[in-house]
């Protein structure tokens, strides 16, 4: 058999895809064998959602090098846009598979468009200012969704920002988006397999983007903006492109989220800044800029509080201590020195030297 001649990048990417596929197969086998608790089963789709979120945020934070604290806002846009579409199409003759596919495209497009709209003003700012403005945008999106009322009757759609009564729906009219109560009765179209497929698609998009000419341009901007500008890279264009792709992928995670639960509401818990920060924690702990790392960190850190569930009230406390300890171990100069001294590679090397 002819040996495949793959570049280092391609090998690295294949390993990443392999991890996802193997994890999927292992879970499927375990489920068939009945070894998976119902708690873990319920976590499978959220795991895919968080992994997609982490991988897409890594594009903004790790590859583009801009700190974004509003990533959950894009997820919110994707979730509501797609859930709205699915609700409208629920009674039509459209088959479920096609409906979900269209919902996916709509969710991703809506989030991507929001990414561009927000990106144009925001990307002019730098550093912490950019972080706070993305946070503000995330909160605004959440706030607006909470006062949005949309209903439909024979005359078409009715919009309101006050309450469901002021929609003035005709007879047989239905409220689709009901303000703070959100959207109720979204079809349950997503499952673990679809989640894994979407995660793989996200990985393919991001990894290919990073290794493309565009991706290299984006990384050049991250490493030295002025140098990149002086060799003729259009900063605004590339920044906006990376930001919009990242937003659209967060929209896909939102579609998955919306079609996993029967009711969709925009709470501080799921689409607020707490969520954005949680995703950021995955990215930083996974290693900023490492796609595979973000994905693995998202899975481990989502499972960790659940595995600690036996400890009840102490689990979030332990989670926070683990978080602080990991950061200190990773970044403090003393810990780095210690790790260098006792690193596995060095021990192996010393062992070999002694043999000689």
């Amino acid at each position: 058999m002819k040996k495949l001649n793959l570049s280092k990048n391609a090998k690295h990417d294949l390993v990443t895809y392999g991890i996802v596929v193997v994890a999927y197969l292992v879970m499927e086998i375990l489920m068939k064998a009945g070894l998976v608790s119902s708690l873990l089963k319920g976590l499978l789709v959220p795991l895919c959602i968080y992994a997609i979120m982490a991988v897409s945020l890594n594009l903004t934070v790790g590859i583009l090098g801009e700190l974004s604290l509003g990533h959950a806002g894009f997820m919110c846009v994707g979730a509501f846009a797609s859930a709205f579409f699915s609700m409208c199409m629920k009674e039509s003759a459209m088959p479920g598979g096609l409906r979900f596919l269209l919902a996916l495209i709509i969710g991703a497009l809506a989030a991507g468009i929001f990414g561009i709209l927000i990106g144009i003003p925001v990307l002019r700012l730098r550093g912490d200012y950019l972080a706070i403005v993305t946070l503000a945008f995330g909160e605004i999106i959440k706030n607006l969704v909470n006062v949005l009322y949309i209903g439909r009757d024979v005359d078409g759609f009715h919009f309101s920002m006050k309450d469901s009564l002021s929609l003035n729906l005709g007879e047989g009219g239905k409220v689709i988006v009901n303000g703070a109560q959100g959207i109720t009765g979204t079809p349950n179209d997503s499952n673990f397999t679809i989640g894994i497929i979407l995660l793989l698609i996200t990985l393919v998009i991001i990894l290919n983007f990073i290794h493309s000419r565009t991706g290299r341009a984006v990384m050049a901007i991250r490493d030295n903006r002025i140098a990149a500008e002086s060799v003729g890279i259009n900063i605004t264009k590339y920044k906006l492109m990376a930001f919009a792709i990242s937003a659209a992928l967060a929209g896909i995670a939102g579609v998955l989220y919306a079609h996993n639960l029967a009711t969709l509401t925009a709470l501080p818990k799921n689409f607020g800044y707490n969520m954005s920060i949680m995703i950021l924690v995955y990215v930083v702990l996974g290693g900023i800029g490492s796609t595979r790392g973000s994905m693995i960190a998202a899975v481990i850190l989502t499972l960790l509080p659940e595995l600690l569930r036996g400890l009840n009230d102490y689990r979030m406390l332990i989670y926070s201590i683990v978080l602080i300890a990991m950061m200190l171990f990773n970044w403090s100069p003393k810990a780095r020195e210690f790790r260098e001294k006792y690193s596995w590679k060095r021990i192996m090397k010393n062992g070999k030297k002694e043999e000689v």
């Binding site: 003003p121 972080a131 706070i132 607006l144 930083v284 702990l285 926070s320 978080l323 200190l328 003393k334």
Partner: protein
């Protein structure tokens, strides 16, 4: 007109609380160049301490406030020593995540000790309300004390920074850490002092906040914390008068939009104003323009 005036006054009062919290944010940012996400939770700790001191220990309000300040100051210095000091040379993102970790830690500690139930905070301020203009505008004691406390703190802080040696050291460290160290300034000590002052202010803000809005849960501090952070950015992060102006403006805008536009949309309006200001002036109202060297 009279209702406008009373909305304005409550807005200024809310803004004063934001300003006091924002001062802590902005000082820490100016010196340690880090976003201290745990600052909002120090407010919550301060409120709980005051709540316990009055409710369980039966201390007079003044002593309760002093106790809260002492506990929060100690807490602030301890957090800085354990969690932030080892990361002085690490990337800002790493410090940010550590601060988030500290924030989770404080929230969950409070959840374990005090439980998730909402505590009703009894106001520590027992001054009668004042009527202005034949009783059309009523200024409550809490409002009055909050505004006065904010002005008092601003004056003291400005005097401290401009007239004392420690204050000058702070300015020097915020401008150039390396040069300050060469001039014989104890950089670590100065950073500790900044955290101490910031946390003490957070304790005072916590007491004032809970006196005006008397519900206390382990998550009380997080939203005012974020708002104050917005206020600090609004005024130009790192600038002390900026934090004051940003805080007051934010409080007034929030209260006015609650009163005249929509109470549900007030947060969205506050954040929109922030975005517009930053688009016009990318470093905030009083922020310094950073020149880029090639």
């Amino acid at each position: 007109m009279s209702s406008f005036l009373s909305y304005l006054i409550t807005g200024i009062s809310l803004g004063s609380v934001y300003a006091i919290i924002a001062l802590g944010y902005t000082m820490v940012y100016g010196i340690a160049k880090m976003l201290n996400f745990a600052h909002g939770d120090v407010i919550m700790v301060g409120s709980y301490i005051a709540f316990l001191a009055v409710g369980a220990m039966g201390l007079p309000p003044i002593l309760a406030v002093i106790l809260a300040v002492v506990v929060c100051t100690t807490l602030g210095i301890t957090i800085e020593k354990i969690a932030y000091k080892p990361l002085r040379t690490a990337s800002p993102l790493a410090v940010l995540i550590t601060a988030i970790g500290v924030s989770y830690f404080l929230q969950n500690m409070a959840l374990l000790i005090f439980g998730a139930n909402t505590k009703m905070f009894t106001s520590l301020i027992s001054i009668d309300a004042i009527n202005i203009g034949d009783g059309t505008v009523v200024v409550t004691g809490e409002t009055l004390v909050t505004i006065l406390a904010c002005i008092f703190i601003m004056v003291c802080l400005t005097l401290f920074i401009n007239k004392t040696k420690a204050g000058q050291a702070m300015l020097a460290v915020s401008e150039d850490k390396g040069a300050a160290e060469l001039m014989g300034i104890n950089v670590n000590g100065t950073i500790s002092l900044t955290f101490a002052i910031g946390s003490a202010l957070a304790a005072i803000a916590g007491v004032l906040l809970c006196s005006a809005y008397p519900t206390l849960t382990p998550y009380t501090g997080s939203m005012p914390g974020i708002k104050a952070f917005v206020a600090a950015v609004f005024g130009g992060i790192g600038s002390i008068p900026g934090a004051f102006i940003g805080g007051i403006l934010l409080g007034v805008i929030e209260n006015m939009s609650k009163a005249y536009i929509s109470s549900q949309l007030s947060d969205a309006i506050v954040f929109s104003v922030l975005i517009i200001v930053l688009l016009v002036k990318p470093t905030g109202i009083l922020g310094k323009k950073i020149h880029e060297k090639v």
